[in-house]
């Protein structure tokens, strides 16, 4: 079988101006940092960006860079407050924002990947979230219809991948496994690429059939440095 390992640029060439992309990670943790940094250099623009939450508090890290570089036209997620550039651009009309509760956004993405039309959630009933949405009543209880969400490209972050695209996650995998199902083209950034069979079948968090491209990210040592620096700068570690 052909190896799915490709260069970062070859993988990112699938992302064109105006596309909808999902990026895994949670405030930068287990986010595909190398791919994001390269996307900033490549300058692809007018993106619709779907993430669970936004940048690391204060911005300047992970997906915050894409927004700061004005590459995002529309943001879909649960929060923008950690990214001052997102708040500013939303306020001045440059950035469109679509808010969903975090449990809703991840279910919308899951539905998109699982071939469901959507899900029925009690979250948001009686709030702004009702606007423009269908409702369904079951046994007297009202639920919002939250529809499926998909992307042209998803960039996820794993720890190891084999050449067939099987992903092993380490730590808090957050939105990555769910996004891997919900895009037409899936790029997995990992620290290690290994041969098929080197990841135990029980340890595969995302089956290789869902992944189109495997790319090497910054690697484990650099990742350790990046977070150490981030946390020291933000007075979380001393």
């Amino acid at each position: 079988m052909k190896s799915k390992e490709v260069s970062l640029d070859a993988a990112l060439s699938h992302i064109k101006d105006g596309m909808t992309i999902m990026i895994g990670g949670f405030l930068g943790m287990n986010a595909p940092l190398a791919a994001i940094d390269r996307l900033v250099e490549l300058g692809v623009k007018d993106l619709t960006l779907i993430t669970a939450v936004n940048a690391y508090p204060g911005g300047g890290f992970g997906i915050g860079k894409l927004i700061e570089n004005h590459q995002v036209k529309k943001y879909i997620g649960s929060h923008i407050g950690t990214c001052p550039a997102a708040v500013e651009q939303y306020k001045n009309g440059e950035l469109e924002v679509e808010f969903y509760p975090q449990g809703t956004i991840i279910e919308k993405i899951r539905a998109g990947g699982a071939g469901l039309g959507g899900i029925l959630t009690p979250t948001g009933v009686g709030t702004l979230m009702e606007e423009g949405k269908q409702k369904v009543t079951i046994d007297g209880k009202v639920y919002l219809v939250e529809t499926a969400l998909r992307a042209d490209v998803a960039i996820i972050r794993g720890y190891k991948a084999d050449k067939m695209g099987n992903i092993l996650y380490r730590g808090t995998p957050n939105s990555n496994p769910v996004m891997a199902l919900a895009a037409d083209y899936v790029i997995a950034e990992v620290d290690y690429v290994v041969e098929p069979g080197e990841i135990e079948p029980d340890r595969v968090g995302t089956p290789g059939i869902l992944v189109d491209a495997v790319v090497k990210g910054y690697g484990e040592e650099k990742t350790r440095e990046i977070f150490r620096e981030l946390w020291i700068k933000n007075k979380k570690l001393a």
Binding site: K91, T123, G171, K236
Partner: protein
């Protein structure tokens, strides 16, 4: 003791042994420092982790593990990590015993507004994050906030004015002045802070407060 510490200390008394709890940022996280002796709780964070603690010493961090604020985090024995869909299945599905959350406003029906500040017409910030699911899913919702805003206006209202996060969701409200319980009859004043009178609480509160007999003082 400043207002925040007082609220956090009182909130910590709501923890019961074996509780699975999710703590919002700010005062709720502070409460973890005051968990009573003999009470063990399991922390859940919405990014997908159970049974953890924050670390602050260089070298103790793991660059693949963080809490919901992306702080360096250590998983404790018996802890686990899982994806975001599972995390919110746990939250929305009623598997979290209690959540402590901050609020911008809360009202006597248990409605709560905690994510939407006006940014521009029809635009709100910063976003709800995981709060709306916690409000719907946690078995017990404890709301911690300062009783009044910087201009001295009550945040404990007859009716919230900001966009709601959830309706009829709050069980208990803890401020630096009082502990109030949301009941079918209305908002009941349960405790007052040390040295604070019932009248002082009433004067600082826009909501209708139900007072039943003598109101005990918080024990901190």
């Amino acid at each position: 003791m400043d207002a925040r510490e007082l609220i956090a200390r009182r909130a910590a008394q709501e923890f019961k042994d074996g509780y699975v709890v999710n703590l919002g940022f700010g005062i709720p996280v502070l409460a973890a420092a005051y968990i009573p002796e003999g009470v063990e709780v399991i922390l859940q964070a919405e990014n997908g982790i159970l049974n953890f603690e924050t670390v602050t010493r260089l070298g103790e961090e793991d660059p693949y593990v963080a809490d919901a604020a992306c702080q360096p985090t250590r998983i404790l024995p018996g802890g686990s990590t899982f994806d975001l869909a599972t995390s919110f299945a746990i939250i929305r599905g009623g598997h979290v015993d209690a959540t402590i959350l901050g609020a911008l406003e809360v009202d006597q029906e248990g409605n709560i507004a905690n994510w939407a500040l006006p940014l521009a017409p029809g635009k709100w910030s910063p976003g709800m994050g995981g709060a709306m699911d916690l409000l719907v899913g946690a078995k017990r919702v404890i709301c911690t906030l300062q009783h009044t805003d910087k201009k001295g206006r009550s945040k404990i209202l007859k009716k919230c004015t900001l966009p709601l996060s959830a309706t009829k969701a709050v069980d208990l409200i803890i401020t630096e002045l009082a502990v109030m319980e949301v009941t079918p009859e209305g908002l009941v004043l349960k405790e007052v802070a040390p040295g604070v009178s019932v009248d002082q609480v009433k004067a600082a509160t826009e909501a209708d407060l139900i007072v039943k007999g003598p109101v005990p003082e918080m024990r901190l």
